[in-house]
């Protein structure tokens, strides 16, 4: 499997006249990890919501492997191979970990409603295959033992893993991770970094939104830095860390890095 290339041209978003994102452009190369950094309120999550179709864009264009993505509704974006996690983890708390991850296989099911109601053999086969795949994913993420635990009962770090597993279950070409390290300790962050690299090695393109510059620098091939809805720097981790604009944006606000 190989990932998809994401191109973003001069996208913008306003909320009731307030500009949240003002003309941002960048490219996430296929198979690479692109980091999107910036202080709080710099427009990172808004950008992600525009890519995934949750927000309509007011200007600009987004394309996946050269084909326009902007204008698609969220489920169409997902069908194009874009998966995401959420900044404020969004799992279905009553449901088991396995059931949560199985939701990610939704697009993989092909049988129609009548076949499902009749429980035709094909349907049962499809379900079993999906379950096998999800269990394998849980295994890869070292949370196989939690398969039957309700998602709401998990620790913070485990919930992040389940979210990533769910996103991977969609078999994405592009994976968007929204602040996956938020609230994690050092050991957990290191494990997360390894996990991202592992995902990258499987060929999936990753767009990583993160606060933690160390983590981003460690895993990214390329970094884009936003502030106040504008792009203020772009380049390799080393270039971006050296950029005066980035240092200024983070100066004195670097409270949790």
């Amino acid at each position: 499997m190989s990932g998809a290339k994401l191109e973003v041209w001069q996208i913008a978003k306003r909320f009731q006249g307030i500009v949240a994102v003002d003309s941002i452009s960048f490219t996430a190369e296929a198979g690479g990890v692109t980091g999107l950094i910036g202080p709080n309120g710099s427009g990172k999550t808004t950008t992600m919501n525009m890519i995934t179709g949750l927000y309509t864009i007011d200007a600009g264009r987004i394309a996946l492997d050269g084909e326009t993505l902007s204008g698609c509704s969220p489920h169409e974006v997902a069908a194009r191979g874009v998966a995401r996690t959420f900044q404020n983890i969004r799992l279905l708390p009553d449901q088991s970990v396995l059931a949560n991850v199985m939701l990610g296989t939704h697009l993989g099911h092909r049988k129609n409603i009548l076949a499902v109601l009749a429980r035709l053999p094909g349907v049962v086969r499809e379900e079993r295959a999906a379950e096998r795949r999800c269990r394998a994913l849980l295994d890869e993420l070292n949370i196989a033992h939690l398969a039957n635990v309700p998602a709401g009962d998990l620790s913070y770090g485990d919930r992040r893993r389940v979210e990533i597993a769910r996103a991977l279950a969609t078999q994405p070409l592009l994976l968007l991770l929204d602040e996956p390290a938020a609230g994690m300790n050092h050991a957990e962050k290191r494990q997360l970094g390894d996990l991202i690299l592992q995902i990258r090695s499987s060929g999936v393109t990753v767009l990583l939104i993160e606060h933690d510059i160390d983590l981003v620098s460690k895993v990214s091939d390329h970094i884009v830095c936003l502030n106040f809805g504008r792009e203020i720097a772009e380049g390799t981790p080393a270039e971006v860390r050296a950029s005066p604009a980035v240092i200024e944006a983070y100066l004195g606000r670097d409270d949790d890095a």
């Binding site: 949750l54 708390p93 449901q95 990610g104 939704h106 099911h109 109601l117 709401g152």
Partner: protein, 299 residues
Amino acid sequence: MSAGFSQFFASYSNIIDLCLLNSLIAYGLFLALSANMFSLATGGFMALGAYCSVYCTMELGWPFAPAVLAGALLAAAGAALIGAPVLRLRGDYFMLATFAFTEVIRVIALNWDSVTGGAIGIVNIPRYTETWHLALAVVVMVYVVFTLRRSYFGRAIAAIKQDDVVAQSMGVNVFAHRLSLFVASGFVCGAAGALAAHLNFFVGPGDFGLLRSVDALIYPILGGVNSLAGPIVGAIFTTLLPEALRFSNQLREILMGALVVAIVLYLPGGAMSVFKLRRRRPQTPGGAKLAPATKQAQS
């Protein structure tokens, strides 16, 4: 023994019929509620199903089964027609829009004398609905809900109910799913309306108003919206309650109200939540007020 049974059946057959009919309606609403659609369109759907099927049997001379099917399909068509615009509305706005539908149908029924007989209704409807028809319909609904719940449709619907943003992000076409559920709910309620019309010799617009729609919602909610058996339990309880409390005469309404309040307060996840004695998790702080309403429905 059999004499005893036949006397019992003669005395209570209508109660049994009503329990089954209301269970069927309850599953119709269960479908809507399972995707967070607090629908008050039930009265309108039932009216469409009832009047259409009666027209088919009495005016066109159709056999019973196709007449019921025609009624159910008309109600489903009604659901499809209003569903597309109405499903854009959130929570309580949706509720009112569906209620508006029920009211408009009722007013049309009151005024369209040549088909509906106006307020006087249609009398002398042949009694075609047998207890086993109703029982079969309920069994079919239980099977459908049971099978759907363990399929990928079921997972998608559960996700829509709890967090539609997540569902969309996982590739679920939320609108299409909700619309199909709304149409299915219309179909079931329409079929229930058709069966009800051929049960008691008579239909009139008064049968399909706000009260009908609200009662229909109460069945699955009281029984528990997370449980397969919830709708049946809620429907049977609500149908038997007025009979069981009949001895109390004037106090009946008060007792009924008090009992329902007590159930809601002590079993806020519905009657069936009694079987889910899981400990309550602490709520995630923040956003409690704006979080999706369905959060943490169980106790």
